[in-house]
Each structure stands twice: as structure tokens, then as C-alpha cells.
């Protein structure tokens, strides 16, 4: 069994609490692309994760939710998906209205139909404000979702990897102007043409800057291995269209890579991803894009994993950028954090 652990820092990452267990009961908490996600409302932590279904099937799973009980622990976990053994890859985010929005990939309408995008809303005290509701379909079965907000939470942007009948897996943006009650038709971010019958397990990331520009990063192999890499695109018309993709870094070897991004208060875009180093070990790399949209910083390698490093996450607070990632070596694993001062 695996646990969801949570540690917190009140000094910008210099010191940390002891990791505490989030899941009250022993259960098979899923990791990697389908790992636990956290959101914060007024210093209170809310966590979602996935556990396998009744028959142990990780692909027919359930979404679990627990929140800080404000007594040093977590509430007992509860399952959010109303149709059991049909949901995974949850995310939880905090819209500006102070409530919580949970999204996941659902398969209650099962093969051969592609997966569906389901949402539900929770109040800050963890109560369900809505039932599960579907806002999209055609999703790839195994890639994390991305989300961003605007207009006080009235506008919601979601990105996901789609799959068509030919198993081509491009990314799309979905936009809601009614607080995620409904979404418009998906807009293709880039016609990468990656035709893959198996699991990419690598989803997109989105951020919105103060000017209203939408920034997206993702991994694709494209139409040939020579195209494989981490890509970036921007929408300057509120998600109606996207600029031609830009290569952030090419693959150094056949490997599915994982990318994420965050946008600073100065409209600078911070990207982090995994790629292989010269010793064929996966490491974490970072790069920034200046607010002019043209000037890229050099690529920096920030991990020195003995085994492999993967699935970076970013957090920006004032002028501090925190990057955390997972390192594995054989059967050992650990979470590593590095900090940097930015925007000066």
C-alpha cells in the first residue's frame, strides 16, 4: 500500500514540517501521472487522489478526497465519483470564489467510447455543492488535466489530451464562461498528429498571465521521433486560437517526458520538464520565457538524480519559485524540492 503524504513550509521552503499521512485508511494510493493533487483555501489543504476499483483495476478507479481537519490531521477520506470504479486522474483547484473545483477523467460510459471529463464543486468545508457532471468527452484515458481561471472564477480554462478514432492524441482547450457549469467546443492547441495506441501518461499544463494570454506546455512525439519533445504555445485571443507551437527542448532519447508551467506576476513563463541526460537518466530541466514572448532563457538542468527524476511541479510565491519532483532509484523513491529567487 502507498500513502499520500503532505509536508508544509511557512518560510518559503527553508524548513518543513514532518510529512503527515493524508489518507486515514490504508489504501492503494496511486502515483506518478495519476498521483495526489493538493489545493489550498486560507491555509487549509484539500487533497484528491485515486485508488483502484473493487477488482484492483487501476484503470477503473475511484477519486478520494480529504481535507485538513484543522487539528493537525486530515478528515476521513470519501469517494467523490458517484458511479464507482470509473474515475481517475483527478485534479483539485481553487477558483477565486473560494470554493473548490474537482475534475477527473471518467469512464462510466465505457469502451469503445473515449473517456469523459467530469467535474464537481465542493465548499471550503468539504461539502458537495454539485453532483458529478459531464462537461466534455473524447479524452485520452491516461493524461493529467490542466486548469486556469479568470474573471473571479467565472471564466474557466481546461486543457486535456484528446484521442480520436485513429488514436491521434492532440491537446485541446475548453473554455467556460459560466463558472465551469458548461464548456464550449474544444479548441485544438496544436495539430501534432501523434498517433499512439498506448498510454502516453503525460498531460498538458496551462497558465494565464495578467494580460489574459494563455500559456500551454505539453509533450508529444509528433509525426516522427525526430519531432518528439516538450512544446509550448500561447493564445492571445482568450483561447479562440493558438500560435504555432514552439519547441522547448527535443527528446534526447525515446522517452515520454513530463512538462509543467507556471506564470509569474511579471508575466514571465516558467517551464519545467523531464528529459534524459548524457547517462540516459531522466533529470529535471527548466527554462523561462520572457514577457515579450520571444526571449527564452538557456536550458538549465536542476536535478542530479542517481536513478531517474520525473514529474516536476511548480509553485510561485512572490519572487520565489519552488520546484518539486520525484526521484526514483531501484525500489527507493523520494521527493526533492529546490527553490530559486525570480523576477529580480
Amino acid at each position: 500500500m502507498r500513502n499520500a503524504l503532505l509536508a508544509w513550509s511557512a518560510d518559503g521552503g527553508k524548513t518543513w514540517s514532518s510529512p503527515g499521512r493524508v489518507n486515514s485508511a490504508v489504501e492503494a494510493v496511486q502515483g506518478e501521472e495519476n498521483g495526489p493533487k493538493v489545493a489550498l483555501v486560507d491555509k487549509r489543504a484539500y487533497v484528491v487522489w485515486s485508488i483502484p476499483g473493487a477488482k484492483g483495476d487501476k484503470t477503473r478507479a475511484n477519486i478520494r478526497f480529504a481535507m485538513d481537519d484543522e487539528k493537525g490531521g486530515f478528515t476521513a477520506a470519501r469517494t467523490l465519483n458517484e458511479v464507482k470504479d470509473a474515475a481517475r486522474f483527478p485534479i483539485i483547484e481553487t477558483p477565486p470564489d473560494g470554493n473548490l473545483l474537482v475534475a477527473w477523467i471518467d469512464r462510466r460510459i465505457d469502451n469503445p467510447k473515449p473517456r469523459q471529463l467530469y467535474l464537481m464543486r465542493l465548499s471550503p468545508d468539504g461539502k458537495s455543492l454539485t453532483k458529478n457532471y459531464q462537461v466534455g468527452e473524447g479524452l485520452c484515458e491516461c493524461c493529467k488535466l490542466g486548469i486556469a481561471f479568470a474573471d473571479g472564477g467565472k471564466t474557466v480554462y481546461m486543457v486535456d489530451r484528446e484521442v480520436d478514432g485513429n488514436k491521434i492524441r492532440n491537446h485541446v482547450l475548453r473554455k467556460s464562461t459560466d463558472g465551469a457549469a458548461s464548456f464550449g467546443a474544444p479548441v485544438e492547441i496544436s495539430n501534432d498528429g501523434w498517433q499512439v495506441p498506448s498510454c502516453p501518461h503525460s498531460g498538458p499544463s496551462i497558465g494565464r498571465d495578467r494580460r489574459g494570454q494563455l500559456h500551454v506546455s505539453w509533450f508529444t512525439l509528433g509525426r516522427s521521433e525526430q519531432e518528439a519533445g516538450i512544446y509550448y504555445s500561447v493564445s492571445k485571443d482568450d483561447g479562440k486560437s493558438f500560435a504555432p507551437r514552439q519547441l522547448v527542448q527535443a527528446n534526447t532519447a525515446p522517452e515520454t517526458l513530463y512538462a509543467t508551467l507556471a506564470v509569474g506576476d511579471d508575466d514571465r513563463v516558467y517551464l519545467a520538464w523531464s528529459n534524459l541526460d548524457g547517462d540516459s537518466k531522466a533529470q529535471i530541466f527548466v527554462r523561462t520565457l520572457a514577457p515579450d514572448g520571444r526571449t527564452w532563457s538557456p536550458i538549465q538542468q536542476i536535478s542530479r538524480a542517481k536513478g531517474n527524476a520525473g514529474r516536476p511541479v511548480l509553485a510561485l510565491m512572490k519572487n520565489q519559485l519552488q520546484i518539486a519532483w520525484t526521484e526514483t532509484d531501484g525500489e527507493d523513491s523520494r521527493v526533492v524540492l529546490r527553490s530559486a529567487t525570480v523576477g529580480e
Binding site: N3, A4, A7, G13, P36, P298, V335, V336
Partner: protein, 180 residues
């Protein structure tokens, strides 16, 4: 986007059993790196490897020397892997009678998860753990599933990237020298 303005706290959540925090240090500059290696395609010698099985025994290409071998790269979290696994298991059950070997190589997974899956799915073939992805990378696989058919001399005779059908499995085994 991982940007939370509502709190001064930074939190990390991970479905892992060990958490280590590194000291705050400045980032070092690093240049481009690495080079593409050639893929072990059809007609190429299969790349030798030595891994541990889920029960701790050494298992590698040499274990199957002298007879055709079907290698299936899979993961417990992979939808199409699960969908094709009854076929792989069925072929493994017949392999002794038909004179070939079947080896599963679990990638991007954990021993506990694979052991649980093998038990639930009643898998009857040996499973090696590629915990550091070295064999997956040597065989140039972006993601599971992928199946390689290797003849008794150690030459790759067929490759199926993605889910395999009974017809393609039969074709691959024949190309590897199995009389069906």
C-alpha cells in the same frame, strides 16, 4: 498551473513512502546533452539485459537462449496493457508445449503493484522489474505496451508497439521460428 496566492504555505503531496528535502541552493547552468542511439529493430540482435524478477531471481535474455522468446513490456497502470494481458497470458500458458518462452518486463512500476497485479490477473509467465527503465530505453520504447519477438539465435524478428491482437501475436511467433 501550480500557483496558489491564498496561502503563504507551500505544500507537497506525493504518493510515495519517503520524502527528502534538499537545501535551498542556486541553480547551476547546464548545456544540451545526450545523443540518439540506434533502435533494436527487426533483424537486429536483441539487446542483452539482466534484471530481477518479482520474486528476486535473476532473469535476462540469456535465460531463454536457444528458443524463441516473446517479450512483453507492460505496466499495471496501463489500460491497453490490461486489455491485451489475457492474450499474453494465454500464449504463455501454451508456450511450454509450443517450445517458446514468454517474459513480461514491467516498466515505470513498483514491485508491490506488479505483484498484486500478477496475482489478480493470475499471470503464469516470469516478470522482470525494469525499475530504472534501462531496458525500456535500450529497446527504445516510449510507453507500454510493446512486444518483441526474438528467435532462438537472439535476433529480433518482429515488433508490435501498442496493443497486440491474436493475429499479430501468431504472426510474430511464427517469424520468431515457432511452429504453430
Amino acid at each position: 498551473m501550480k500557483k496558489h496566492k491564498r496561502s503563504s504555505r507551500v505544500l507537497l503531496v506525493a504518493g510515495l513512502c519517503l520524502l527528502v528535502l534538499t537545501p535551498v541552493i542556486g541553480w547551476s547552468q547546464h548545456g544540451q546533452h545526450g545523443s540518439q542511439s540506434s533502435a533494436p529493430g527487426v533483424g537486429a540482435p536483441a539487446i542483452a539485459f539482466d534484471l530481477k524478477s518479482i520474486d528476486g531471481k535473476s532473469v535476462g535474455l540469456a535465460t531463454f537462449r536457444g528458443r524463441p522468446l516473446m517479450i512483453n513490456f507492460f505496466a499495471s497502470w496501463c489500460d491497453p496493457c490490461r486489455e491485451e494481458m489475457p492474450l499474453i497470458n494465454e500464449l504463455a500458458a501454451k508456450s511450454g508445449k509450443d517450445g517458446y518462452g514468454v517474459l513480461g518486463i514491467a516498466v515505470e512500476d513498483t514491485r508491490a503493484a506488479i505483484m498484486q497485479y500478477a496475482q489478480e490477473a493470475k499471470l503464469v509467465f516470469p516478470i522482470a522489474l525494469d525499475l530504472n527503465s534501462t531496458v525500456k530505453r535500450a529497446y527504445r520504447i516510449f510507453g507500454p505496451p510493446a512486444t518483441f519477438f526474438i528467435d532462438g539465435q537472439g535476433t529480433i524478428r518482429d515488433v508490435v508497439i501498442g496493443p497486440i491482437t491474436p493475429e499479430r501475436a501468431r504472426e510474430g511467433l511464427k517469424k520468431a521460428g515457432v511452429s504453430l
